[in-house]
Symmetry: C2
Subunit: 731 residues, 2 copies
């Protein structure tokens, strides 16, 4: 067997003529001369190189440490093996740029040690029993594949420095067994249309290029059986929508992005004839761009199982933007690269660094857009609406599909952002990443019992039961329908519907982010219609807000002496009921103050029979795992139909440092709602006596002209919606 391997490898060696053509994965040998030359002058690239070199220099004096795998995520052996691949990768780049053999030898020695250890390893002791994704160096094969994506590049970069004997040892002891383990020995994960599958195929395909095993590349691209049912290309077909949206959401999208862009760059360098960046109308570049679009104030919108501190400066997106710029030379991307403040030591990294040094960046255009979900782009959508005002409002509306196992039961939920901050928020994931004391650093039990549940989001809960009864399988089978999305110079509107979240209840929500004419006051308009085809139900519409309650225009009835949990299951058991009110018929107002120094008032049109329940997260939380955030729930107790109508209004300024407070009161004095055939109307009165009329066509947008009569006046508009100032002139 050992002999056969040697023969095979020798045979391929000449075919691939590795010695003269390395490196050739993400960094091509053709990039290296310019990279070396750049180091002779100052600039971002040289700075980045010096930082990496200093880090490598400080570490390679220490003894090589290849511990026998023992710990799961966050534990010593786990972190050490991660550190080792980064170190080998960095040292190998320093070798390419300095040609100082000391660095290559260090990588070689570490690889030789791994080559001795790897064949002796059983499955990892901390693997999850019963799962098909165990690793050897790590508790899951995902981490093993990540390790190999970097290590194959490190090997590629020192290859020219190695003796035949060392190459043989390293390939026989390490690369061939690990590729075998991740491919033929892990068929289910390797063939899976899922980000774990992407990492595995990328790792195997890249190693295939380095070792000249083009068969591995074929398997990586088309699946183990090369049928095209699995593999990298199928993943590109299915994991992204035509707009480049990844259905687990941006948190996982940026993570998934890494193997896509890395392997794609390696394919481009090795087999440009595959035109991988043009594949499916440039889906890889679209995916990179969409990841950027799905951020606000540098952070990703935290839908599904997202940790909120992740943003556009994550290393995955740094690689993505770098590779995309290398391919497109699109100077808008430099705006993002600038904010990432990281320069990658590759050929594309050099292009980015030099372009930034030359101040070529142009403002990146954040857009209002509906990102279709699903491989065909028709399984609902994730809708982003933005206002380009000074404070940069953004509204996320989520009639998107379930998003697999990390998806939340939050159909038609929304989030709102203003002046850099979350205002109407989503809990994100309940997790302290890699903190051993918190459920080993993985997802906390409360992720399932609270964070994924419908009541943890800003959408209707029927009978205190989550969408799809909280079942992922059911959720994956269904999705909302995007009825329409439109935008014009007044703002954006979107409407969506789902009738499968509950057996006999359909949910239809229309949201708009608009500015009142002339006074340019931004408002969020929200109309949530709930219809039961059979019996009466309880309808809850929660809103989770960030800030401190300032006032309500109705009696709060706060629980002052004791608190109890609001319910017993489906997330309700984690909410303390802090106040219970019954606002009178008319306008109910709730005002809070965000730490960005602005006030926010939600004005709701209530029927006098809808309760306002105030909540605080933290009940049934024996280990204090949850953040104790605030919210309120409008509850219609028993009805077959109901329509929740509200307007969210940012206003004023609280500046205790400079000692002034402006416009702490909401200016909305009246709200009325009316339906006239296809046209739906909201009239908004403001405190100076002026009124505005928001009109939209409820049907899919076909008509170019809409006309209607309101209060004996004729109105007309083109397109989906218009905001009228109700004055003599308009009437």
């Amino acid at each position: 067997m050992a002999l056969a391997v040697v023969v095979c490898w020798s045979a391929l060696f000449s075919i691939n003529s590795v010695a003269s053509d390395t490196p050739n994965l993400v960094i091509s040998h053709t990039d290296v001369p310019a990279m070396k030359k750049a180091l002779s002058s100052k600039g971002r690239f040289t700075e980045a190189f010096e930082q990496v070199k200093a880090k490598v220099d400080s570490q390679i004096t220490q003894a090589i440490n290849i511990p026998v795998p023992k710990d799961s995520g966050g534990g010593f052996t786990h972190e050490r093996h991660k550190k080792n691949y980064r170190l080998m990768y960095d040292a190998s780049i320093v070798y390419q740029l300095t040609q100082n053999k000391r660095y290559a030898d260090y990588v070689r020695d570490m690889l030789l040690s791994y080559a001795e250890l790897y064949p002796t390893l059983p499955l990892h002791p901390k693997r999850k029993k019963g799962k098909t994704n165990p690793g050897k160096l790590f508790w899951q094969s995902l981490n093993e594949a990540v390790w190999l994506v970097y290590t194959s590049q490190a090997y590629d970069m020192i290859l020219a420095s190695l003796t035949h004997a060392d190459k043989k040892k390293i390939e026989t002891g390490l690369f061939r067994p690990i590729v075998k383990f991740l491919s033929v020995d892990s068929p289910k994960t390797f063939n899976k249309i899922h980000n774990h599958g992407t990492w595995l195929t990328a790792a195997v395909g890249m190693t295939g290029y380095v070792l000249g095993e083009l068969e591995w590349v074929e398997q990586a691209l088309y699946g183990l059986d090369k049928s095209g049912k699995g593999g990298f290309l199928r993943q590109l077909d299915e994991l992204f929508s035509p707009e480049g949206y990844y259905n687990e959401g941006p948190y996982y999208q940026r993570y998934a992005l890494m193997p896509f862009v890395t392997f794609a760059k390696a394919i481009e360098n090795n087999q440009p004839e595959r035109k991988i960046f043009a594949y499916r109308n440039g889906i890889i570049l679209k995916a990179i761009d969409t990841t950027i679009q799905l951020s606000y104030n540098k952070l990703f919108f935290p839908i599904n199982d997202a940790i909120k501190s992740k943003g556009i400066d994550t290393i995955e997106l740094v690689h993505g933007v770098t590779i995309a710029y290398g391919f497109t030379q699109d100077t808008d991307l430099l705006d993002i690269a600038k904010q990432q403040e990281q320069v990658i030591l590759t050929g594309d990294g050099l292009k980015v660094a030099q372009a930034l040094d030359d101040n070529l960046a142009t403002p990146y255009p954040f857009k209002s857009k509906a990102f279709g979900d699903g491989a065909d782009g028709k399984q609902g959508a994730l809708v982003i609406m933005r206002q380009k005002s000074h404070d940069k409002q953004a509204l996320l509306f989520k009639p998107a599909a379930q998003g697999l196992g990390h998806g939340h039961f939050d159909k038609l939920t929304w989030q709102f952002y203003d002046k850099g901050n979350e205002i109407v928020s989503d809990y994100g994931a309940a997790r302290f990443l890699n903190v051993e004391a918190k459920s080993g650093g993985g997802y906390l039990p409360e992720n399932k019992t609270f964070a994924k549940q419908t009541v943890a989001h800003n959408t209707v809960v029927v009978d205190e039961t989550s969408h799809f009864k909280g079942k992922v399988k059911t959720g994956n089978k269904h999705h909302p329908e995007l009825l329409f999305f439109a935008n014009n110079n007044q703002g954006s509107i979107s409407s969506a519907q789902i009738d499968t979240a509950y057996k006999d209840v359909s949910l239809t929500r229309t949201m708009a982010l608009v500015k009142l004419p002339e006074i340019h006051k931004p408002l969020v308009i929200d109309i949530f219609a709930v219809n039961s085809s059979e019996k009466a139900h309880q309808f809850d519409l929660p809103l989770h807000y960030q800030g401190q309650l300032i006032e309500t225009n109705f009696q709060l009835n706060a629980q002052t002496q004791s608190l109890s949990a609001l319910g017993s299951k489906n997330g309700y058991q984690h909410l303390w009921l802090t106040a219970k009110s019954l606002p009178e018929k008319g306008l109910a107002k709730i005002t809070w103050l965000n730490e960005n120094g602005k006030f926010y008032t939600q004005t709701s049109l209530v029927d006098g029979e809808t309760e306002a329940l105030f909540t605080r997260i933290g009940a049934n939380d024996p280990n204090f795992n949850l953040r104790n955030e605030s919210g309120f729930i409008y509850r219609k107790k028993s009805a077959k139909q109901h329509r929740f109508i509200s307007v969210l209004e940012p206003h004023g300024q609280y500046n205790p440092a400079k000692e002034f407070t402006l416009a702490a009161k909401s200016s909305i004095s009246s709200l009325t709602h009316q339906i006239l055939g296809d046209i739906e109307l909201i009239e908004i009165g403001v405190s100076n006596g002026q009124s505005y009329l928001f009109a939209f066509n409820r049907q899919l947008a076909n008509k170019t002209k809409n006309t209607f009569t309101y209060q004996d006046n004729n109105f007309s508009f083109n397109g989906q919606f218009k905001l009228f100032k109700l004055s003599n002139k308009e009437k």
Copy 2:
């Protein structure tokens, strides 16, 4: 009467020869040529001028609005009159620097309108009945004096442009009546040794200089009767300690500073022979410097009734630093000026701007220091300990005096800061400044029922009763004794005692902020000894922390189904009891994660009979006025003596963005405590097996050499304390 005024004014006019010598308050006519000249080149001063001019230009096109006073703080007429004085002040400076008469005319017109309105005004309708400090333009005379401090300067700056007739109208209608109102008609406030008194004396004295009424200046300096029992100089004698500490704390110190520095500068310009900046060993400059010292990460330490967002960039301290730099040319101050990012359009402001343009700033030296409290500096102290490590730890220890009406019942409390954030925190004031819906923008009821109470702080509460039974008068009569403060290259230590907070209980606390030798790990050591001379009591030691609980090394017993208030009065009614534990004898550990990404573990030496109660602020809060922050209380139920001993340890790093977590576990494995005569010892074992011995002399520092025997080894040290590494070498 009117005639008499004219005569008087005409007579003085020639004496003071105003026409040629104006302006001459904060800005002197001798400053103006250089200021004008500076505008011909770029730089900070020109930028600041252009901003002010643009603001003025946009406002003076609008109609002058002098509303009849109606509203209290935050209301329209209140804010409008504030806006007017700023506008007059700014416009008058633009006039000086451009000599464009349009600006002077605008100020003149506004002053003429005020001169018509003022004589017609009764006391303000929103004044607090029964108080001796009503205003006319504003609800309290304090605001009226502030208005006059600015407006007198504006008048001074346009004086040369006015006709005799206009001067007469303005002085007769406005300045003479307002000065009369604030001085002879408000004798109690004018003569008060208090910051309201400072504003009134400054306003009257400055107006005296402008109108040539040197008698007013005398009254401002020495009190209405010129006896020296009241007035500005007496205020300088009594309101600051010899170290320049103002006994209400930094939040009110920066506020109080403004009239001191402004009037002082006016005195210096008009009567340099008074040598006001040398008065009482340069107390004004010391007060400015101490205000800076009492900040962390640009924000003031929030003791007493403080709003936390106030910091070194407040306009009062901008003026203070500017005037101090003008007088001293101390380049350390430029470091602060740079962070303030504001340039004042005065002669001193020009010096600061040019020095910053020339990059003359040198690092401002934040110190570890005990700031003596009280006019004699012996009424306790406010102690600041700092570590100049990368993360810049700071510990505030507060054996300070009560601090009058805004003082809190928090003797011997502490706060801790690290990496820019509050870690062990103080609630500060319960107030939403100028937010009408929150108790009219004034102090909330919860400021008294919670924020001022002892349990809202990090110090011992006996029998659930606040210090001095929560009575300000009692508190003002007593103060803690500072036993010692010392620092060396290992860190700082301080000890203090008070036996008047409770009838029969004395409280003695020793705190140290030190770094373990060789490993340079920072620690806070806290030894709190409580002694009852009569009967047994319940002793509670709360700690309010900022962050999320990560783990405890004992059973939490969280309240999962319902929460109740911890007590019924003295602040306890505002605390929800979230968990109740009884840690076993030995070490009790509580770890939390701050949003700065670091972990903090408090390790306490417990006797197995001390409960750990976990709390969350927010009970009995019908209007949701309180922030829902977390804390824990160690409770010794019934004892005559007790000693709370603990060590706070910052450790590790949580970085979910970069996906790594380091040292999430505390490294302290043992703590022992021992007293050997005057020497007190804490032995600290860390998880690598190493031990450290912290030794200090409990007595007032006199000895230069201390010797003791511990575990059969002899030790010696000089000064107050030393941290020994317990190894063969040290033994």
